[in-house]
């Protein structure tokens, strides 16, 4: 047991830090990468990932043959920690890097790996994820999009929802039913769909924050070549599980660093904001809540290390990742609730006399409502923990 960096890890951490110091344009982050509607930032963010790729950082743990660095997972985790610490924007191609790419590496043919992987790293091709549907959210197996063979093509029809980046994506990992008579989870196939195909329509979906991070997608008679199946026909559920296991990978290290930064900022706020005429930080109830957030956010950091040690020792990501996501999402809601409460009645405004901090907290406060829903609702995560970690019988 040793929580220090090994000499190799420390050297890598320094290398990342130095590179970010030299290559991160602070002014550009303020003006172009972190504000404004996402669509206006895409080009800048794409260029930022390109720069990361040139520096050799886009795929730290990806194999060298696909353009990665071939480094151990621990270094990938350190990279995300340092990115978060320096408040660098995350790579834009998050679905490609975290979900599509790892799934193609496991289930793809060699020609598919050659075709797709390097362009994921460079962000030349952005990916989106076509899993959820209006009638198939947590119950993903209930999806109804269909793919019917016609010559050398499958003809896809259906509607997808909550699709991040769909409006700028070149490719979509897409689940469609290919055998309507098979049991729910059997007749599904995993496709790689070109978003420029005729019949693909993308409409932005505005969230309660007012911004549109997500989209809905309508697929009408979209023709997809047969060779764009990933894995085997009707084996899409198994392939999708690889994607979803990777969804909660080393990116969690960035989230836990961000949470720590947010808590530090909240503590500073509590020192300046008053409650009954005294600094809020002196209020015993506020102190208890801050301390409890520390317990949870520190647990996130440690759970990340524990889960990673398990992966490194056993080779497979365990369902422990579900614990980390559950903890993170529920803690972020509590943290942003507290931040807004600290403002008192001014917390009812979204911009109090130009207080930029309140503006950011309010956005985070609203945005964190989605944390317990996206990438597996807290209820689904508890099902996973109950069934796969504790071995309780399947719920009905």
């Amino acid at each position: 047991m040793d929580f220090r960096d090994t000499p190799e890890e420390a050297a890598f951490r320094k290398e990342v830090r130095d590179w970010l110091e030299a290559n991160l344009d602070r002014e550009q982050i303020q003006t172009q990468l972190s504000v404004g509607p996402p669509e206006e930032r895409i080009d800048n963010l794409r260029a930022w990932q390109g720069k990361l790729h040139e520096g050799g950082w886009a795929g730290v743990s990806w194999p060298k043959e696909y353009g990665g660095r071939g480094a151990p997972l621990m270094l990938q985790a350190i990279f995300y920690q340092e990115m978060a610490r320096s408040k660098a924007p995350a790579p834009i191609n998050v679905i490609g890097l975290g979900m599509a790419g790892p799934t193609i590496m496991v289930h793809g043919r060699e020609d598919q790996k050659q075709r797709y992987l390097s362009k994921i790293l460079s962000a030349e091709e952005i990916w989106c994820q076509g899993f959820s549907e209006p009638g198939a959210g947590s119950d993903l197996g209930a999806l109804r999009s269909s793919a019917v063979l016609d010559g050398d093509h499958y003809v896809i029809n259906g509607q997808k929802v909550w699709t991040t980046l769909a409006h700028v994506a070149k490719w979509c990992i897409f689940l469609a039913r290919t055998d309507p008579d098979a049991p729910k989870h059997k007749g599904i196939t995993y496709f790689l769909v070109d978003m420029e195909s005729p019949g693909v329509e993308v409409r932005p979906l505005r969230q309660m924050t007012g911004t549109a991070e997500f989209n809905e997608m309508f697929f009408t008679d979209v023709r997809v070549p047969r060779e764009n199946i990933l894995g085997d026909l009707n084996d899409g559920w198994r392939v999708a599980m690889t994607t979803l296991m990777n969804e909660r990978g080393t990116l969690g290290f960035a989230l836990s660093v961000q949470a720590r930064i947010a808590l530090d900022e909240l503590i500073n706020k509590a020192k300046t904001l008053k409650r009954n005429g005294k600094p809020a930080i002196d209020d015993p109830v506020i102190r208890q809540r801050i301390a409890q957030l520390h317990v949870e956010i520190e647990a996130m950091r440690l759970s990340g290390y524990r889960a990673l040690s398990t992966v490194i020792r056993t080779g497979v990501p365990g369902p422990e990742g579900s614990l980390g996501k559950l903890l993170w999402s529920e803690s972020m809601q509590k943290l942003t609730d507290l931040a807004v409460e600290l403002y008192g009645p001014a917390g009812l405004t979204t911009d109090w006399k130009g207080d930029a901090d309140l503006k950011r907290w309010q956005f985070a406060h609203l945005r964190s409502r989605g944390n317990t829903i996206e990438a597996g609702t807290s209820e689904i995560l508890r099902n996973i923990i109950a069934e796969r970690v504790l071995g309780l019988p399947r719920h009905r």
Binding site: T6, Q292, H294, R306, S309, L323, L392, P393
Partner: protein, 377 residues
């Protein structure tokens, strides 16, 4: 970075679990609980023979020379098995205080512990306080030693201990953290044998130690006169982490039983564990248990390595483990339904030990306040 145990540490855990599965467990606990002393002499002898009490004591004093991580493993396992022995008071309380000090009978006392002696510590606190201002026992110099006044209350296993480490005020000071000293008091020096209070955890009894008029020789003083508090505070951080480790062990075993029951118990023609009201509560219990476990391991490592956040990590661990102990003990009785509420069922035995782990040395709120103090400074 490696968040895992060495092969030797895993082997220690394995052997501890095997021994305790065989010689401890709820049935053994129940027998001890109903006994006059609340302890299992045979189990203590076994543990002594295995050298567990000396795991962290250096080899020069008859120990194995290992560290806090190994003690964490043993505390977790004794917690899992509800072992009715004074391991906590001897090793985690008296042992840690002795480790931090020097002089007096310190070396001899460590040797005694390593070879099976039983010990405890009288923190001298009143009103459940564990800070310096809460120390109510006093000691004054006499011609050839020291004379105590006052009573130390709520001392665990004082009726079993051969040796008692006593925290006493030797000088009145404006700053309560000054003027405190540590003493080693053999049970034979007491005027009356400590009589335990009827205790919620019948195998971890709490007693008043009446020190009024008790006299000890000059060399009973441990370390420097009047400057004991910093080392007491340091020792108690370690004690708190070890007690948290026990809490995690208790919570783990309790939750395992609740989950096993939820798999088997049929109602409405299905296992109750298939109801999300039950399974989600179990998932939450797992979350608090595993969270506490991570905190305990990290805190033990940080204390051992002298990491800058070691004190904060210890406070975080005790806060997390105190909550986990309560949440899991309560939830597991609920999952069991009526049977879990009966005297015959073992759930309340786990509940009792969990409550000791939760409240002794201060509950979650008290340690969270320490976390807040560290964060706000």
């Amino acid at each position: 970075m490696d968040f895992g145990f060495s092969d030797d540490q895993e082997a220690l855990r394995q052997s501890a679990r095997e021994v305790l599965t065989d010689k401890a467990g709820p049935a053994v606990y129940r027998t001890a609980m109903d006994s006059k002393t609340g302890t299992d002499e045979a189990l203590w002898k076994t543990i002594g023979d295995l050298g567990w009490a000396g795991v962290a004591i250096d080899e020069a004093h008859g120990g194995l020379g290992l560290g806090l991580i190994e003690l964490v493993i043993l505390m977790e396992e004794t917690g899992r098995a509800l072992a009715p022995v004074p391991f906590f008071s001897t090793v985690a309380l008296a042992g840690q205080l002795l480790e931090q000090t020097s002089g007096g009978g310190r070396d001899e006392a460590l040797r005694a512990i390593a070879s099976g002696g039983r010990a405890t510590a009288a923190l001298g606190q009143k009103d459940g306080r564990y800070d310096a201002a809460g120390v109510s026992v006093k000691a004054a110099r006499t011609e050839n030693g020291w004379k105590f006044s006052g009573t130390a209350s709520l001392v665990p296993e004082a009726h079993l201990a051969d040796l008692i480490v006593v925290v006493a005020r030797t000088t009145r000071a404006r700053n309560p953290e000054e003027g405190l000293s540590l003493f080693l008091v053999p049970a034979t020096a007491l005027k009356s044998k400590p009589k335990p209070q009827p205790s919620l955890d019948g195998t971890r009894r709490l007693a008043d130690v009446k020190l009024g008029g008790v006299q000890v020789p000059a060399d009973s003083l441990l370390g420097q006169e009047g400057s004991a508090w910093p080392l007491v505070a340091r020792a108690l951080d370690r004690t708190a982490v070890l007690l948290s480790a026990e809490a995690v062990g208790v919570a783990t075993a309790t939750l395992e039983r609740a989950v096993a029951y939820a798999r088997e118990r049929m109602q409405f023609d299905r296992a109750i564990g298939s109801f999300q009201a039950i399974s989600h509560r179990c998932a939450d219990m797992l979350l608090v248990t595993e969270t506490a476990r991570s905190h305990v391991y990290y805190a033990a490592w940080a204390l051992e390595e002298g990491a800058p956040d070691a004190r904060l990590a210890a406070a975080t661990a005790k806060a997390a483990a105190s909550d986990a102990a309560r949440i899991v003990a309560n939830g597991s009785i609920q999952v069991h339904g009526g049977i879990g509420f009966t005297w015959e069922h073992e759930m309340h035995l786990f509940f009792r030990r969990a409550k000791f782990c939760e409240l002794f040395l201060g509950d979650a709120s008290l340690w969270r306040e320490r976390v807040a103090t560290a964060l706000a400074s």
